[in-house]
Structures are given as C-alpha cells and as structure tokens.
C-alpha cells in the first residue's frame, strides 16, 4: 500500500516533455550515483531480479479426450522420492520432492534455521546446512539434514559429517558460480565467529575453490574420502551453479556423485555482489534441460538423481521442473518469504532502513526486521521458530498440492511420470531452452 503511494509520488515527478531513458533508467542512475559515492560494488541478498526465461513460460497440456485425467483428492498422485540410490547404503527417502536448500547459520538466525528444520520435517522432506557448519537447533529439529562441504570448511568436522543424513559437496551456487561466500562483519556475532574460527566483526570472504582439491579428477578422490570417512552410508550430492551445466553434470557423475544439485542463476544468496548475481550463470530452465541431457547421454537419468533449484516459487514450478526430468527441487528464497521475509507486517521498519516490504534484499546487512537474515539477538528473538516451522510446512504442502493438481490433470498417478511431452512453451526463447514445442506448433527452435 505504502509502496504503491511512493511509486505514485515518484511517477508524479513526470511532466509532459520529460522522458526517462530506457538505457539509463532510475535504477541505473541511482547505482552510478551510489558507486561514485561509496567506491565499492553493491553487495546484497536475494537473487537475480532481472527477467529471464523461466518455468512461467511453459504450460501443461492437460488431459482431455486423448488422455484421461485423475480425480483430484480421490485418486492417488504419488509424491515420494528417493535420493542417493547409486552408491549410498542409506539413501534419503522423502515424502515430497521439494527440499530446503543450503542456507548458513550466519546468513540466517538460529531460530530461522530451526524453523526450516521443523517445517521440512513436518512434511517429510530434508533441509540443508550451509557455509558455517551445523547448529544443534537445526540438527535436533530436522529429521533429514543434508550437510554441506564448502570451500571455506567453516564448522567442518567428522562428527557432523556423520550426523548428517547426506553430504553435499558445494562447488558453486546459482547466484555466483565461480564465486566464494561472503558474510559481512555485522553478522559475525560471537557465536558465528566461534563456529567459523574467525575474529568477531570481520568481513568474511570465503575462497571460491576448495582448499584440497581442484577439478573433476581430484573431486573423484575427495568424494571417495568422504565415503570412506562415513563408511559408504551417506548419499553424496554435488552442487553446482548453472553455467556449463552439461559438462559439470557429466563430470559430477564421473566423479562419483549419488545426486546432483543444479542451482540456476535465479538462486538466492545472503550476500553477493549485485553484478555477480545478475550477470553470471544461466537460468534454471535451460540448466534443467542441459542437466537431464547430460544424465541421459550417460544413461544415468534417474540413477543419479537431479535436484533443481533457483526460482522455485509455486507448485507449477515444481511440476514443470519434474516434467523436464528433475527428481526433486529445492527452495531457498521462497522459504524465507514463507517464514515472513518481506512481510507487510514489518513495512514500517523496512522503511526505516531504507527499504520496503516486497523490496527488501539487504540480507547481508543483518538488520532484518523479521529476524530471519540477522545475528542480532533482539531481532532474532522476534522470530518464532515454531510458527515459522508451521508456515514452512504449510507452504511446502501447498507446493505439493499444486504440483499434484497439475500432474493429475495430465493423468499422472505420480509426479515423476510427468514428461517434457506434457509441456509446451509460450515463447520462442523458452521453447529453445526447454526444448519443448512452441504452443500450437511442432516447432522446437534449434532442435
């Protein structure tokens, strides 16, 4: 409401004869002015804000005469998925194909991490640690917890490695493929500093390469070590930011991954240079297609599971990612929003820190009025992990129900029976990227 008024007042500056530049629009002008004032690149949270081809550009072909739909609510549409069936003795058995992506304690408050665990556990899915180690809260409240191995190795230890239900070797993330982690000084509290063995209050810039391996040949040896340490029980995921996805997925398979997480450029971040977020990586849509191509060529599709993330918001996104060949998806940004990030409830306080509900992306700053992306005890105390967990569970249920609704309409008794052939594209771009025909045609550009 208030934001609308502000926009109106800005637009109110317009008079006949004034023309805003498309090239130098008000955001560009503001950024040049900021850069010249501050002398440092813009660091922010959230994910890419530019428009890119996405699952919205695809539509399902519901059943009609040639195909028969399933009854909603009454006829079963399965949602379960098993991740890590290739080598691990104990693969993850999830009730829904929507998991919670890795987000660090440090980036998020301890109660926020707890809420993610509570919500995921309530609906039978997994949550993931992050670049900062495992907290007791999240372990206690997560039935299924994926433990990340990152370049920084903050909080890394063999006990937590074994307490994890799966291991995720993080090579990169969609918001910044080729970049390392960041946590600015105001979020390095005593507890975060202790977990990361860092001085309090410093600006932490993590390495972009792992300290003890480089390249796919080393990765194979690293994965072998992790398997030996955990006695071949845990599934090992490899997470990559989407760029040269076809090669990266094939190399992850060759290096011995049980499952591969591909994070498209829309994937969120707590703190990254804006230029990195908006200009590196490929969208989730083409990344999904390339990843499936890579797996199919190796004969490993469904043998090595594919988890897609980066801009999953609705059950439609879930269903479309699965139809293109993903085994599961992960949510990050959407989960934070579900817990109360950018809630109008806090609009007044967002305004005090120069933002507004619906626009807040200063997750790096640690001043989150919602108590999620902060290490300030007072702010974090506002966040109720039980209520937050319930919201996460509700949201995950809605995503699942929506995906089931679409799958039933296509006549599927399991989400995994969705196929690319159930989809058409609305735009030439999305048709080319997803390799499905433009709606009403048989045309797949570039095929």
């Amino acid at each position: 409401m208030l934001e609308t008024e502000r926009m109106r007042s800005h637009d109110g500056a317009w008079q006949p004869g004034l023309r805003e530049s498309y090239l130098f629009d008000r955001n560009v002008i503001a950024e040049i002015q900021r850069a010249s004032r501050e002398g440092i690149y813009d660091i922010r949270g959230f994910g890419a804000k530019r428009r890119v081809p996405h699952f919205d550009d695809l539509l399902f072909l519901g059943a009609s005469v040639s195909r028969y739909p399933l009854e909603g609510y009454r006829e079963r549409c399965g949602t379960d998925v098993v991740l890590g069936t290739r080598f691990a003795k104990k693969p993850l058995e999830l009730k829904i194909p929507v998991t919670i992506a890795g987000m660090s304690f440090g980036a998020l408050s301890a109660p926020a991490k707890e809420a993610l665990g509570r919500g995921a556990s309530e609906v039978g899915t997994s949550t993931t640690t992050g670049d900062g180690g495992m907290t007791e809260e999240e372990r206690r409240h997560s039935t299924t917890l994926v433990y990340q191995v990152l370049p920084s190795r903050y909080g890394m230890n063999p006990d937590d490695l074994r307490r994890g239900d799966a291991i995720e070797v993080v090579v990169g993330q969609g918001a910044k493929p080729g970049g390392g982690g960041m946590l600015l000084g105001h979020k390095i509290s005593d507890r975060v500093a202790a977990m990361r063995n860092l001085p309090k209050g410093i600006d932490q810039r993590s390495a972009c390469r792992h300290p003890d391996w480089t390249g796919p040949d080393d990765l194979e040896i690293k994965i072998h070590e992790l398997r030996e340490i955990t006695d071949w029980e845990k599934p090992i995921f490899v997470k990559v930011g989407a760029t040269r996805t076809y090669y990266d997925v094939q190399l992850a398979v060759k290096a011995g991954a049980d499952a591969i997480v591909v994070d498209g450029m829309q994937g969120g971040t707590a703190a990254t240079q804006d230029v990195f977020i908006e200009h590196v990586g490929i969208p989730t849509l083409p990344a999904t297609r390339l990843a499936v191509d890579a797996l199919e060529e190796l004969g490993m599709h469904r043998q090595v599971q594919l988890i897609i993330s980066g801009g999953i918001r609705t059950g439609a996104d879930v269903a479309k990612a699965l139809a293109l060949g993903a085994d599961a998806v992960s949510i990050g940004t959407a989960a934070l929003i579900a817990m109360g990030d950018n809630s109008p409830e806090y609009d007044e306080q967002y305004r005090k820190i120069g933002s507004s509900a619906g626009f807040y992306d200063d997750w790096q700053a640690g001043r989150d009025p919602a108590g999620i992306s902060t290490q300030d005890d007072e702010l974090a105390a506002r966040f109720d992990p039980v209520l937050g967990g319930r919201k996460i569970a509700n949201y995950l249920r809605v995503l699942t129900l929506e995906a089931q609704t679409l799958a039933r309409a296509c006549g599927k008794s399991h989400l995994h029976n969705l196929e690319p052939e159930d989809l058409v594209a609305l735009t030439v771009e999305s048709a080319a990227m997803a390799r499905v025909p433009l709606a009403g045609t048989n045309w797949i550009p570039g095929a």
Binding site: R209, T214, G215, R244, Y247, K254
Partner: protein
C-alpha cells in the same frame, strides 16, 4: 599419430591395462616416454582428444588442468597457419608451442611464453627428441612430482607412479615450483 623421426605416439579410448597389452608396451625400447590418461572436461572422449598432442616435429604435450582463453588463441594460431583437429584446450597449448618454436623460440622460451599467453590452470609435460620439460601455471593447483637420481629423471602427477622405479626410495624428489620451466636433455641425464 607421430610427427617426426624419433617420437612415436599411440592413443586409444579405453582402460590403461588394455592399452598396455594392445600396443605391447613392454616391448618398447627408448630413452624416455610419456604416458597420460584423460578425464575429458569439455571436449569429447575420443582418440583425437587424447593426449599427448603433437606440437611439431618430435615434440608432444600432455596437460593436467583447464585453460580459459584457448578459443581466441586457437583462432589467432590458425591465422598463423597452425592446424587444429579438435576443440580441446590442450591442443591449443601444443599449437602455441609449435608456433613459438617455428618462429625461432627455444623450448624453454616457448614455455615461458605460456605464462604470458595462456590463461587458466596447467601442469604441462613436454616430450622432445632428447628429453622433456615441465611447467606449472602461477597458481599451480594441479599436482606434479619430480624425481631425479643419477640414472633417471621422472615426472608424475602422483608419487605412486614414481615409487615403483628402481632406486626411487633414494631419489631426490620435489614438486615443481609454479612458473618455473624445468627441462632435461638426454646428454645431461
């Protein structure tokens, strides 16, 4: 696949033990040899894409790593008349060495030129008619071990490959410094 009078190059797609048997490696005689297995990163798993790449007469290159500016360099070298058969980054490095040496550079000079003109990660091993040379990029992530005795010199990614050689236990062993060209000729070995 060899170009030259002294060096012979054999390549195949498959497992090393099959290769050894197929080409009867144990019957080979000579003063020095290079062996390489490849985990293809961006180009295809083919015989053509296998290392070593011939860098001209009696010169060949194997590479561990991944270059990041080889596409434009390949175009530049094509204009200089260097032929390329694959999209492989290592072939570009080989072509670069061939071009520099054609223009009059010594092997050492050509390798030093890599530090200026090649971007990315590389541990290079170059075989010549009478010896070999080693170079690592400035960051030097990809492994390399050198060992030397009065009787032989060896280079490998891992010590285990050298450890089986006679007298390896007493060899002088070290890891090559980044950006330093190491070269041996038979006369000196």
């Amino acid at each position: 696949m060899s170009a030259g009078r002294v060096i012979e190059i054999y390549k195949e797609v498959g497992r090393p033990p099959q290769f050894v048997e197929q080409f009867r490696l144990e019957d080979f005689e000579g003063s020095h040899g290079l062996g390489h297995t490849r985990m293809a990163t961006e180009s295809k798993v083919t015989t053509e894409g296998s290392h070593p790449f011939s860098t001209g007469l009696d010169l060949c290159l194997v590479h561990n790593g991944s270059l990041s500016n080889h596409n434009r360099l390949r175009e530049r070298l094509r204009r200089e008349g260097i032929d390329f058969q694959t999209e492989n980054d290592t072939e570009v490095a080989a072509g670069y060495l061939a071009w520099r040496m054609r223009e009059g550079a010594s092997l050492e000079e050509a390798l030093e030129g890599c530090l200026e003109d090649l971007d990315g990660f590389y541990t290079f091993l170059v075989g010549t008619a009478d010896g070999f040379a080693v170079l690592r990029d400035p960051i030097a992530c990809k492994p390399a071990v050198l060992a030397e005795t009065d009787d032989w010199v060896a280079m490998s990614s891992e010590w285990r490959a050298i450890a089986v050689l006679p007298g390896a236990a007493d060899a002088r062993m070290w890891e090559p410094e980044p950006t330093v060209v190491y070269a041996w000729e038979k006369a000196l070995v």
